[in-house]
Subunit: 118 residues, 3 copies
């Protein structure tokens, strides 16, 4: 089992790569004083950085799971999301409401991405 | 990164295929006046159609995520689901309660499927 | 489509293997009289057993989804989880709050794992 892990602690890795697929941990904002759009922007920037590390980028995202602490954030998250997604290369997506690990988080996004073979 | 996308708009693709795996967007009913069983039937019909487009079918489903707006819908969804699943070829499954993007949706189903190599 | 299923009934398989990846059904405790830590321990034991059946083990887990019936269980689940995860080999993870199919379940965990090629 050839597995490559990134940013690993005892609880989780931020990304794990196997057989051309990368699984990212659900990303949350570092600065939770930000509003929904600000948290979403920060999350997507973290996803960009993780994908760059492991040999992919946002055009390689296959599937995304978006968890909203409140479904009322749907339009705000989508506005930031739609501006970030490369036109013509949007992933499959599911977006549902779930309270997150801590109440200061308003959005969490996890993705599965294709990795360039090297 | 060889990636094939289906029914893509700026927000998401309805299906994305890479390396023999298809990731479908979380499917919801088009006619939200339907009750839980009706919405589930419509969702499964949409999944059949998407899988047909990309070279798979319901026997190729590996994993399914079912989100119920209310856990009280569990038995109704299961009744439709169990009748639809090919005997002996049921996918792995997780079924949890999450409010969905809009209150008129009672069920959302996302799947990962194997794609025939061509 | 070469697909191998384990513990299949009409509703779901407990695990499905394709192309070197195993998808496990969301696991819940068999003994729901147990508290959160007890249920988590039982779930992880079931995951160990399923992975052993299909030619993997907890070092092969790529991604995990943890659903908590209450986000208040976060620390209890993490304590059991962190002791179970092999140091240096933690999977990607997302942990969110969702009510589960039945109120006696406090935790549900689903994983995707790498399978040894044979």
């Amino acid at each position: 089992m050839q597995i490559k892990r990134y940013d690993t602690n005892q609880c989780m890795s931020q990304a794990v790569v196997h057989n051309g697929f990368a699984f990212l941990a659900g990303q949350v904002a570092d600065d939770t004083s930000l509003d929904v759009k600000g948290q979403t922007t920060q999350i997507l920037t973290k996803i960009d950085a993780l994908l760059a590390k492991l040999g992919s980028d946002r055009t390689g995202i296959l599937a995304a799971n978006i968890w909203l602490a409140s479904a009322a954030s749907y339009n705000d998250v989508n506005e930031v999301w739609d501006a970030w997604v490369p036109t013509g290369e949007a992933p499959a997506r599911a977006c549902v409401e779930s309270k997150l690990a801590f109440p200061q988080y308003t959005v969490e996004i996890g993705v599965i991405a294709a990795v360039r073979s090297t």
